[in-house]
Symmetry: C2
Amino acid sequence: MSFGVPLGIAGVGLIGGSIALRARERGVEVVGFDRNDASEPLVNRRVNSLQALANECQTIVLALPLDATLLAIDALRSRVHLQLKLVIDVASVKVPIVERAGGWKSFAPSHPIAGTEGSGPQAARSDLFADRVWTYVSTDAQRDEAVRSFIETMGGRPVAIDAREHDRALALTSHLPQVVVCALAALLRDRKPLPDLAGSGLASTLRLAGSSWEVWEPILKANSAALVPALRELGEHLSGVAEELEAGTLERTASYFKSAREAYDALVKPRQ
Amino acid sequence: MSFGVPLGIAGVGLIGGSIALRARERGVEVVGFDRNDASEPLVNRRVNSLQALANECQTIVLALPLDATLLAIDALRSRVHLQLKLVIDVASVKVPIVERAGGWKSFAPSHPIAGTEGSGPQAARSDLFADRVWTYVSTDAQRDEAVRSFIETMGGRPVAIDAREHDRALALTSHLPQVVVCALAALLRDRKPLPDLAGSGLASTLRLAGSSWEVWEPILKANSAALVPALRELGEHLSGVAEELEAGTLERTASYFKSAREAYDALVKPRQ
């Protein structure tokens, strides 16, 4: 990817910082907007406002929490004199983003399926997106081409996806597991079993429990239509196992374990 | 630990095989009883029955599924002429084991808090127990000393624990997470989201989903008294989150995320 102007990144945390590191590895100058001083070493230089970023950069990545991304879209879109070439977001929910961006010609909604258990600029890595799927919502041929090129520069695999389909799938692969893991961890914290009796399996199960509520609150609210039925279904599965254990006949429970094995083979094994 | 006679291991899978590898590293001769031919390379030699094992070895580890462990206790205990010095089990539930063993003088109930996502003899590793807690139920001073010595030879950290307390804690740290992960994985398998949209966080959450139902069925049944209320509570947590999402006020959900962070700091962070 060749940038005629520097790449602007609003939000230099795990995702924005990893984009910054990778871009700089590829010789792209990066301007960052983030109030956290820990983001300083990740960019070539920092500016103090989104407006200053937009004044300097014709390509901008919005790597902000969902609610801040929506505000940034409003702010940038109204400044028509800026002639921004490409504004890409990376939020975990796409329908509200697409709706907010409306027909804005410079905007491309995307979402990299990448992360680590760390967060913030300290956890940024230039290879975070290496061989990872990076979804984008197709808009028009020229923008799609620019987005694919950007994603490939990041080391990712661009995959076009419908916004609604993305959100329905992420409700299952990301938002539901996040809530479940947090509810489980909260229950453990209340019941206080001896830490000595927690093994590496539990540590793996609870890896997501360190995530920040500030990041997750707007995601859960935005995707509640897809998330609520899945939460109810899983809650019923758990009560069902409890009933079966009391009755002493574990048919449904056995079927969960057997289906789980198939999901493991499809979703976990390929990553080992 | 010095064995005057070879160490006998009934069940040369992940745990039994790892015990075998570690013992042999320490110069102990190991005799195994396991019908799986893949266990052959892990032991010095194999025998064809539990009885043959007991004829040759005065120290025996029962590294079998829970139900098979209970049967083996019955079988060995009745053969009083054997003069077994020490029989140790490693099952994940301790109350039924203690009850079954009654006052049997040679028997020591134990449970290593160690595992990997693999299973079977292929997954065995001589360092599986290195620095891991290995719980045991205290019986008498002489047996406790022998058990602690055995656990230390395995590289583990011996921790004495009450059987009932062990089972209540494991219901939370192991059995509940196992059921939750399997129910979640089964739901994902039924709803079939695109595998492209499953990230490394989900892979971590579902790591336990590859476990075998044959191993887990007797554990869940044996520990149902502790497991059932925890399953019901978690099921209610999930329905509660669904209700809050519909109502648009996420107070309890926020508290789960904040408590989860504390559990993460206590249980996950120390293992990173």
